[in-house]
Structures are given as structure tokens and as C-alpha cells.
Point group: C2
Chain length 476, copies 2
């Protein structure tokens, strides 16, 4: 049977673009179908605009750091959120024009069809009234902010990561959720002069990370003037006198409290885009909350249909979508049984940055009997001291043989350093080998190496000390 | 024969401290002899004060970056170099008190003797009129700024990295030399409001790095207002009207030129501290320019005497001194034949940062027939775009099998990322394995991974494209 295309890719975010452009580059006939914008959430509503905003906040914040390095103080004038958001949108447009230009993608050999795809059967989708068939199909439709069942929320038109960067301006912001998005954006807006409130169910922000990491970020957010409401549940949202009011109830207290701001940002949860694909027609199994079920080769329950990225994994990261796209590509094109890696670094770009990989000491699989934990605080990291930035730490968790099974880094370029750990874990480089690799001084990652040095010190047992005594001759 | 100590270590800089504390920790009897300050050049005159200064300059410079991210401009008031240098000295004192406290070192089991050591014979040195003998001796006396044979220079009391941080204040500075020290300090002082001149014999700064790296730093230094005098030789130095005048002659022009400033910083060359050790008495061979000759185990020509750090290597880095200290320690203590690694990362902390490892395309050993070069400009690195910092690039050089033999990184946290490359090179992780390791997005090192992706694309030959055609069925 002849198909219109070798591969039909549905969704042009990180995962879909990787699969489509990669496959076309190796000579496959590929069509990419996108219902909204080429580039997906990451470019338009995620990593790109948030990092541009964070850079602006970082520059704005530098004026607060002057006195601690001997510079005269400099009072920041009121920040213009409107102008900064315009800058953020320019950055997004720049990236879009450069990397997600449809003409450029077509020149790479990928056909593009703008529109929403629905399955007709397991080899065919319908878009804009046309049927398009493929020998293989890759679903990469991503995820969207979850709808929260909070009374009144929908009617106040709350912002999400999809709409906040399109805002005009605001003086105050209430954020529901203290995960990476809530903390990153909350801190950035606070540093740009916005009065920020964060409402969280947890006792500490960044609840999925090591508690010590969240505590450091917690202190930092507070020093940026953010009000954090812990262990709180949102009861109701409404508008009063043009302001958006959130009523919360604290777990431990009986009274409720009103939090008032110009805008509300919902930063809790993401749900997979599965509903409108007519997956039943193709026989692809899915769950509206968990998304499309895939095996470790990214295959769905229909073997010639693959799913990659946020629609098919709880690890909703651009880099993981990209990885899944590569895995799908390898399986489809080369019939090499590639599998998804479980070595997945994660980074939150607060100040200080938090990055982690593998297990933490809070995980159920962590076992003090079979794991070693090596910590090093930034008060012992030379570069952190010269940077007057001693709030942070390295934590490396290994098995008894010295293979790294997890790590958390707080402070400095944590998001960069976690990738060195990823390289070690992915390639079975032991902590001893990391410790024996010369690292440039004075860098933060030299401190990471110092942290790794502790494994060997642990192995300097009494037996080895006796060896030394024997070498140098017995003494009392 | 009984010795006073198992190990006598001469010099308490990076190399000596590593060897002494390490050996004591494993039970050896150790004495550490230091003629000046515990901590050595790095703590007092090198990495530590320069990085503290650079951090201050970075914060001062942020006010210049405001407009490019949509923030209102903010005019920096005149910087107070005096106050910043006081901050720098505080950081040095902090590090010294914390990590080079003699009492703490003694608690680690190391005896300390302050004074200059001279060899009496190959097992004995004399310090403060006392003879101290050791079964093994480690020489770690470091290096100092080279004396330049320039007419009048000595008489104007020029600053070096040993004295510049002790200065009171100055409004203008002429730097002789455009290597890492000249560029780092020149840029930092320029960003702190000092009028800086750099005089160099080269056509571009950072002459030992890839030319493209030097060119980027060159542009950055100029945009910070630094006057750079290329291909110039210093003829004479003198004082006129309280100012320090440097007369230079440009290679290509016939006329000479006067450069006038409050202070002069000599940042050219370092020479090993070998002269006063009476090495002849021990039979240790050395060269006044190249230092003490060692084999790959850090052994001198006298097998029980080792030499580590700047006194014994052209790679005058704290991290290499530390590594050599570890190597000496391993050889001495465990009789395991440890060898010095040749995988040595190097970083220059200008803005943008420059870091490199292994070979460059300018090296004699670089061979376009047997090496591949993979470049990726920061205009294609998402994080650099969101940071409005697109001046930079990755360059990875591999052999035909994909093993990395060199790399240069300019921009972002280059000094951190080079350590990931070091890990790969030291442990024979191929560029393909680096490319297959998931890197957190959006980081700079995700861009490094993207750069590495190019190796595989190179291997997508016509043969593989045919394979794809066969898989999907032949077509025209």
C-alpha cells in the first residue's frame, strides 16, 4: 500500500520538530501538522519567554547587589513591566523567525500543514478537510495548563504561562503554585518591581526537590519581597473594585484570608493534549490525565504510531521531548531498538538556580544502607565566595560502588553543572573518575569535583592507614 | 635511617597544600614549610582576588545592560576603586581565614614551619637555622611574575598581580600584556571606571587561544572603552608629572608613541621559584626559566624528591598544581604509579569567558585530514539569545572515530562547560555519547550538546539515505 508520506508528525513543538527535521534529513518523506504555532509551548509560552524575563530581572536585580561588592548603592527606578514584556516578546519572535520559519523547515525537506489533525484510521489523519496517510505516525501534541476546579477562577480570566507574556502591565500578581514555573516567574516579576504573592499547598517551595533546596529558594524569594502563603488551599476567586481577590484557607488555621492583586497566574499542573485527536479511531490507548501510553521505544499501543514529548510522559521538559523525538526517529528510521534514557536532568532557573537528576534523599528508593550521600556547601566553594553567593550546595548520591544515582545542585550555574553529572550517569563514569578529572579553577564545577573527592576519602580505611605506616616504617 | 618526617613539603600553595593535607589525612607524618603566606599565589595574588574583582565589575556593568532588556537606563556613578579593592581584600582574608588557617591545617595533622627552605642534602632542608629531614620531599614553591628587561621599568615601581590588589586607587592603568591576566584585570578595572590601556605584541588579545576567541574578547574589551595597542613593543618607561609614561613602538609604523596612566600593571610571563632552594645540594636538575624537571609521576631527577605546581610545569594553573599534588601523593603514599593527566582545561574569566582544552585548530598537531571540527555559534544557542549574549561559540575537535581531542568555548559559563568536555576526554566518552546524553534545556551546555550532534549528521552518508529509501520502499 502506498502512503502519502513515510512519516506524519502531529505537533511542531520540541519533540515533533526533532523527529520531522531529523527524518527528512535522512531522506524520509515527512509532513508536519501543527494547529497553533510552529515551535510549540517552549518557544512561545515556556522556556524562551521565561528565560528572557529572568535575564531582565537578573540585570534589574544587580543594582541591589552593588553594596556587597564595595560599589555605591544605586536606587532602581520603577521598572516598566510593559517594556520588559515587549522585550520578551521580541526575543520569542527572534527565535521563532530564526528557527521555526516554515520556509526554512520546508527547505529541510519537511512539508507543513497548519491545522488540527484527527485520526481517521491508524494510518490516516484528517486536516483541513484533507486526508493524509503515513506509513508511520508520530504524535507530539504536547500539553497545556491544567484546569483547576476552583470556584470563580475561570470567570476572572486568570493568566497562565500561555498568556502572561502577552499581558500589558500589572503592579501586583498572585501566583497559585510554587513549582518551577511559579517560583521562576514570581521571582522575576518581583525583581522587576511587581508585588508578588505565592500560594502553595506545600510547606516549602519547589516541593519536588530536596527540602534543603526549596528552603534556600524560599529565603531568596522572601528577600525579593515575595509573600508566600504555605499549606494553603484556594477556596474562591473573584473580582472586587477591579482587583482580583483570592480567598485561601490555611491548613493549620481555621480562618480564611484574602489575597488581592491586579493579576492571577495559575502555575499548577499540566494536562496532555489528547482529547481532539480521535485516538479511538486509530486504536491508540491513552488517559486524559496521564496522556498517551508509550513503551520505552516511544511506541504507542499501535506499533506504527509513536508518541513523544509532553503528551506521552510525566517528564514534561523540552529536552526530554527532544530526546523522545530522537528515540522515535532512531526506531522508525534505522530499526535500531533505541530506548528512552532515564537519566534526565532538571533545572529551575530561580536565583539561586536549582538542578537535579536521578534520585533525591526524599525518594522512596533512597536507602541509607545502600547509598552514600556527599554534600558540599557553597561556603566551602571558592568561586561562590568570590561571587558573594554562598547560599547553595552540591549533593551527590552514589551506590556503594561509587556510581552516581542522583544529585542536586543549588546555586551558581546549577543548570549547566547538572549536565556534567548527566554525562557521568549516562556513561557509567564513577564519582571517583569525576574526582580524578581535572576541573578548571576557580569554577563552581571545581567545587563539584571537590564534593566528589569525598568518596575516596571514605575509602581511606584504617587498613590503608596501616599500609602507610608500613611504607614509611612502623612507628608508635 | 630515621627521618624527622615521612614527607617534607616546601611551599603551601595549591600543590603543596594538597600533598601535605592529603598525606597527613592518610596517616603520614608531614611538615609544610612556607616562606610567605599559606595559600600561595592563587589565594593572595591570583584567582581569588581577580575573581572577586571581576564579580564587582560584572555587577557594575549590569547597569549598562539595562536598556537591551527593556529596562530604563541608569547612569553609573563614578566607581570607587578604593572601596572595591577593600572588598577584594576582604574576600581574600575570608578565604585565608577559612581554608588556610594554620591551626586548622595543624589539626589536620600537618606541622607547619614558616620560613624559606634550602636543601642541605637530598633528604634534608634547612629552615630558620634548623635542619629538617624527610624520607620524601615535595617541592611546591610556585612561580612569580617574570622580570621584564624594559628600560626604566623597575624604577617606576610597576604593579604586578602580586601588588595590584593592594593598591589604594587609580584612575588610569596601562597594562603590558594581553594574556589572561591582562585581559581579565583590564576589563574588570575598565568596567569599574578606570581608563585602561593594553599593550600587546600580538595582533589580537589572548594570543594562545583560537583566533576567533581572541577576536570576540577584543571587541568586548574595546566596547568597555579599553585602548588596545597591538603589535607593539615597550621601549621605555618613566615618570613625568607624577604619571607613568610608557613609550611603545608599533611593529608596522616607524614612530613611537607615549601611553600615560596613573599605574602600570605588568602581566607578561611567570618564572619559577627555584633560585634560592640550593637544589644543587640535593642534585635536583632545573632550569631558571622552565623550572624543575619532572617525569610524568612528578618525580624530579632525584627519585625521592617530587616537584608539583608552577615550579615544575608550563601549565601554571591552580587546578593543575592541585592535580600534580594528588599525583605526587598517590605515588608517594600508595606506590601506585599515578601519572599526570594531559587533559587540562583552561579558562579566562573575561566577559565573555573563554575556555579551552586539548588542541586548537592553530596547533601544529591539528591536521584537517585526521581531525573533524564542529562549530556552533551562540546566535544558534537559545539560552544565549534569551540572555541577549550572542557573541560566542562552541568548537569541538575530534578524531575520525569521534573521540574529542580539543575544544574551545567562548561565552556563557564557558569555564564551567569546559569541565564537562574534560570529563568526556579523560574518560574516553565520544562526542556521540555526549550528543546522546540528555542535557537540561535551556542551558548553554544544551547548545554544547547540539554542537556535538553534528558528528552524527556527518555520518548520515548517501548509503544511509539509501537504507531509508529501502525501509520505506523504493521511490523515484
Amino acid at each position: 500500500m502506498a502512503y502519502d508520506y513515510d512519516i506524519v508528525v502531529i505537533g511542531a513543538g520540541g519533540g515533533g520538530l526533532t523527529a520531522a527535521i531529523g527524518a527528512a534529513g535522512i531522506g524520509a518523506r515527512v509532513i508536519l501538522i501543527e494547529g497553533e504555532k510552529l515551535g510549540g509551548d517552549c518557544t512561545h509560552y515556556g522556556c524562551i519567554p521565561s528565560k528572557a524575563l529572568i535575564k531582565a530581572a537578573h540585570i534589574a536585580h544587580a543594582s541591589n547587589e552593588r553594596e556587597k561588592v564595595g560599589l555605591s548603592s544605586m536606587s532602581d527606578t520603577d521598572c516598566d513591566v510593559h517594556a520588559v514584556l515587549a522585550h520578551v516578546r521580541n526575543v520569542v519572535a527572534d527565535i521563532e523567525n530564526r528557527f521555526e520559519d516554515p520556509e526554512e523547515i520546508k527547505r529541510n525537506g519537511v512539508d507543513i500543514e497548519m491545522g488540527f489533525a484527527r485520526f481517521v484510521n491508524s494510518h490516516t489523519v484528517e486536516v483541513n478537510g484533507k486526508n493524509i496517510s503515513g506509513k508511520k505516525i508520530v504524535i507530539a501534541t504536547g500539553a497545556r495548563p491544567a484546569d483547576l476546579p476552583i470556584k470563580g477562577l475561570a470567570s476572572v480570566n486568570p493568566k497562565t504561562n500561555r498568556t502572561i507574556f502577552e499581558a500589558d502591565t500589572f503592579k501586583s500578581l498572585t501566583i497559585i503554585g510554587s513549582g518551577p514555573i511559579g517560583c521562576e516567574l514570581g521571582q522575576a516579576f518581583a525583581r522587576l518591581g511587581v508585588a508578588v504573592n505565592i500560594i502553595t499547598r506545600d510547606e516549602v517551595v519547589l516541593g519536588r526537590d530536596e527540602k534543603e533546596a526549596g528552603e534556600i529558594v524560599d529565603r531568596s524569594l522572601k528577600s525579593d519581597g515575595i509573600n508566600i502563603f504555605y499549606k494553603s488551599e484556594v477556596r474562591e476567586v473573584f473580582v472586587r473594585d477591579g482587583k482580583k481577590v483570592v480567598t485561601i484557607k490555611n491548613d493549620t488555621e481555621d480562618k480564611s484570608q484574602e489575597i488581592i492583586a491586579d493579576e492571577i497566574l495559575v502555575a499548577v499542573g499540566r494536562q496532555p493534549n489528547v482529547e481532539n485527536l480521535c485516538l479511538e479511531k486509530a486504536g491508540v490507548e491513552y488517559d486524559v490525565r496521564k496522556g498517551i501510553q508509550v513503551n520505552e521505544k516511544t511506541q504507542t499501543t499501535v506499533t506504527h504510531i509513536y508518541a513523544v514529548g509532553d503528551v506521552a510522559t510525566p517528564w514534561k521538559f523540552t529536552h526530554y521531548a527532544n530526546h523522545m523525538g530522537k528515540v522515535a526517529l532512531t526506531n522508525i528510521i534505522f530499526h535500531i531498538p533505541a530506548k528512552m534514557s532515564k537519566v534526565i536532568p532538571r533545572a529551575t532557573f530561580t536565583a539561586p538556580e536549582v538542578a537535579s537528576i536521578g534520585i533525591s534523599t526524599q525518594d522512596n528508593v533512597f536507602d541509607p544502607k545502600s547509598h552514600y550521600v556527599f554534600d558540599k556547601g557553597y561556603d566551602f566553594v571558592d568561586r561562590a565566595i568570590t561571587d558573594v553567593a554562598q547560599e547553595g550546595f552540591f549533593r551527590i548520591i552514589t551506590n556503594r560502588k561509587g556510581l552516581i544515582v542522583g544529585a542536586t545542585i543549588v546555586g551558581g550555574p546549577a543548570g549547566e553543572m547538572i549536565n556534567e553529572i548527566a554525562l557521568a550517569m549516562q556513561n557509567n563514569i564513577s564519582i571517583t573518575k569525576l574526582s580524578d578529572t581535572i576541573h578548571a579553577y576557580p569554577t563552581y564545577s571545581y567545587g563539584l569535583r571537590n564534593c566528589a573527592d569525598q568518596f575516596r576519602a571514605k575509602s581511606y580505611s584504617a587498613r590503608k592507614k596501616n599500609l602507610v605506616k608500613n611504607i614509611f616504617g612502623l612507628r608508635g
